[in-house]
């Protein structure tokens, strides 16, 4: 790691040379793209996730388990992030994706770890239902 001069920072990691490395900046999201199925067939959460790329734009859609039919999830914002995993020294892309249903907002991050797509959802309810905001994590395998 080289410390770059004259840059503001709040931790040494902010000065990691990898952050201005063109190889990191131009890393593709290939490992994330595709259709992913929940490893838990009985899930009452997200059944599947599809990550696509058109040009530089990434999209994340999902199918929530519904009472009768799946419920469509479409991320309002998707941001690619350089994934700086400390111990493994991996260099890859993670995604931050936000979903807004009006009555509920889900702030999520997605990453691939050893071929498994992991999503962590921080769900916040905005209605007056009394439900608790909650965090959950689900795992997906590549379908195609």
């Amino acid at each position: 790691m080289n410390v770059t001069q004259n840059l503001e920072f709040k931790q040494i990691r902010d000065l990691d040379q990898a952050l201005i490395d063109s190889e990191v900046r131009n890393m593709g999201a290939d490992r994330l793209l595709g259709r992913w199925m929940n490893t838990d067939r009985q899930t009452r959460g997200l059944r599947e996730i599809t990550i696509e790329q058109t040009g530089a734009e990434l999209s994340v859609t999902a199918a929530g388990a519904g009472a009768n039919t799946p419920i469509e999830w479409l991320a309002q914002s998707v941001r690619p992030l350089a994934n700086l995993e400390e111990e493994a020294g991996q260099r890859s892309i993670a995604l931050a994706a936000d979903f807004d249903f009006g009555f509920m907002r889900a702030e999520t991050y997605l990453r691939v770890n050893k071929g498994v797509l992991v999503i962590v959802l921080f769900n916040s309810f905005r209605d007056q239902s009394g439900r608790s905001d909650y965090v959950t994590r689900e795992f997906f395998y590549r379908a195609e």
């Binding site: 840059l7 990691r13 997200l46 769900n123 239902s129 905001d133 965090v135």
Partner: protein, 138 residues
């Protein structure tokens, strides 16, 4: 009751009106990686039923105090009243840091999303690290 996944459709009787139990979150959380170049230590404290997080990160000449941010607390299910995670945001001007933590088997798994707002051309980044609660029992 609206829901986007059936797990969120819960019986009204299952919803507790009790406030969230925050007792599992306050304390001093220490990074399990002694060689981290990111957040070294976090101090979570409770005041007036709210939680606040103070962060100390590794700098070139010692720890850098990020200051304090109020956190949003999350349970583990829509009916849970036990704090199992949190999120908060620090705005440094040149960058934002969005922290999302969840408790797993006593460890705090912290995800940090760093977004640069300056013209440095640095890539926004994501990192996950593990923190243990300092208990001072041994």
């Amino acid at each position: 009751m609206e829901f986007a996944q059936i797990v969120d459709q819960v019986e009204l009787e299952a919803i507790s009106r009790r406030p969230m139990d925050l007792s599992g979150l306050p304390g001093v959380w220490i990074n399990s990686n002694p060689h981290t170049n990111g957040i070294a230590r976090m101090v979570m404290s409770e005041a007036d039923g709210k939680l606040f997080l103070q962060v100390y990160a590794i700098g070139p000449e010692g720890l850098i105090d990020w200051g304090v941010a109020q956190v949003q607390v999350f349970g583990s299910t829509p009916t849970s009243v036990t704090g199992a995670g949190f999120s908060c945001r620090f705005d440094f001007g040149f960058a934002d840091s969005f922290l999302q933590g969840m408790i797993m088997k006593g460890l705090l798994v912290l995800a940090e999303v760093r977004t640069f707002k300056d013209q440095s051309n640095r890539a926004d980044y994501f990192v996950r690290e593990y923190f243990a609660l300092e208990h001072q029992r041994y």
